[in-house]
Amino acid sequence: MSLHQLAQPQVAPVPDVKQRKARGRRLRGLKPYLYLLPVLLSVGYWIYRPLVQTFRLSFYQWNLLPTSPQTYVGWQNFQNLVTLPEVGKALANTLIYTLGVIPFSLILPIIIAIATDNIGKRSRNIYRALIFLPMIMAPVAVSSVWRWIMHPTNGILNQLLMSVFGLEEPIRYFTDERWAIWSVTFITGWKLIGFSTLIFSAAITGINKEYYEAARIDRASWWQIIRHVTLPLLSPTILFMAMLSTLFASEWSFSYINVLTQGGPLSSTTNVYYLLWTYGFQSFNVGVSSAAAVMVFVGFGIIALGFMKLTKKLSFFDN
């Protein structure tokens, strides 16, 4: 692949003046496309081509070996998906991840952002820098650190809970099926909470202070101001974060699942993305994996469209 070279035509030496005029007009029309070529080729080849191929593969049975044949099986992969018991489990878990992340992506950040508005500028910057830190950390590194902190017998979390709060049995955060999914959700949320808080803080800072003045003159109470001024004006941001967290909560938790639980115990932490992964690269069932991928893509696509519609509907709040 020489995508770079394909990007080169526009640096070719300028043709001499005579030719220039004749070719000039045609080239002029082509120019924007030439500048776009590298990105379009890359996006087309590495995102849209595989997307189409995934749709195609969802109708075939294949084990990923180049030498073995791909057999057309029609809708059978989709029918298999519906009957596989782990699919239901993965869907239910996906819902748990999606809802479980909301306190970290919406509720707590909104509360914190509202409560800490108009704090001194210097201390605000220090808090910002600290709170944001988890966001830039690599998911694998984050998994590694929490695996140590939440280790059942040697981790500092259980040590603290046992010595200070009198916990008797150490909690097995990643191997106890009642806890595992919540542990993974917590870690996903931990990485996110600082980022969301900053997004909401920025939105609140952007609200015109005259609205508050007016509300105060009308003798609105603190709660009334939040309920009728702050929250409605924040609604585009709230919607935006709700969309991000709904669409990506399960994808973000993927790394933690893969490093910390591998979907277990008893597939209690698996989700749809992890299922795609295991079908594709553990049981080498490309057809079923692709069928699941198609369902995931269509499902989340519909959700995204819904959110975009809602955003459009609400956007008049802004002005």
Binding site: I136, M137, A141, W148, L160, S255, N258, L276, S290
Partner: protein
Amino acid sequence: MGNPSGVRRGLASLTLKHAALIALSFLAVFPLYWMVVTSLKPEAEVFTSSLLPAHWTLDNYVSAWNSIPMGRMLLNSLGVAFAQTATQLFTAILAAYAFTRWEFRGSGLLYGLIGLTWLVPFQVIMIPNYIVISGLGWRDTLLGLIVPNIASAFAVMQLFNTFKSFPKTLIEAAHLDGASDWSVLWRTIFPNLRASIASIGILLFITAWNDYFWPLLVTTKLENSTMQKGLQMFISSEGSMWGTLMAATTLASLPVLVLYLVLQRQIIDSFVKGGLR
């Protein structure tokens, strides 16, 4: 506001605000603190919950360095992250220039096609891409890690917004002076937007450095993989050598942490402006 009870209430609420923020900061920072502190403790102290090592040591770093090809993996990660950042910036600069400089047929559609890619999760396209990379014989090579990522829709959209704000009159002036479109881009626009381009570049670098999915698929041998993939393999093989593991984790996070230490203001701003991807 002169009455003392009001002042006291104001003070109380300010204290409460700071308490909440300190608690949140603690929650955010403590795991990283614990990572670094554990990595500096000698073997005998690792299992104690003392907040500082009684005897500081770098033994864990030495053993991490010796038990996996850490140097190679760090170099791989740096190489991949730099190459990805550079190519993504370059391709995105060209694209953003095209979108903002000319009106042409299909520009809205093409921009939409680029923008919509954020709706395509990695796991949905991983198998076909994996097949291509395998077919090219690029598994376990840096090329296989870099080439699928030479363009970033995120970078295009961020730079589009940056380029849009660039004054048209300056472009016209340069053009009247006889500058070609290519030199308008690199002599007029680029130098002026260098700061914003750099901060987008930092974001791309962090994303590339932290990437885990693609190396997980494409590389199998430790000496060919990036730091993140190597760390994951280390966790699954030597998962209970906590001191060594925390040293490896610290090393895997170090470049990003150093960047953050120096440039946190810009990093936070561009993250908040740019969303998550």
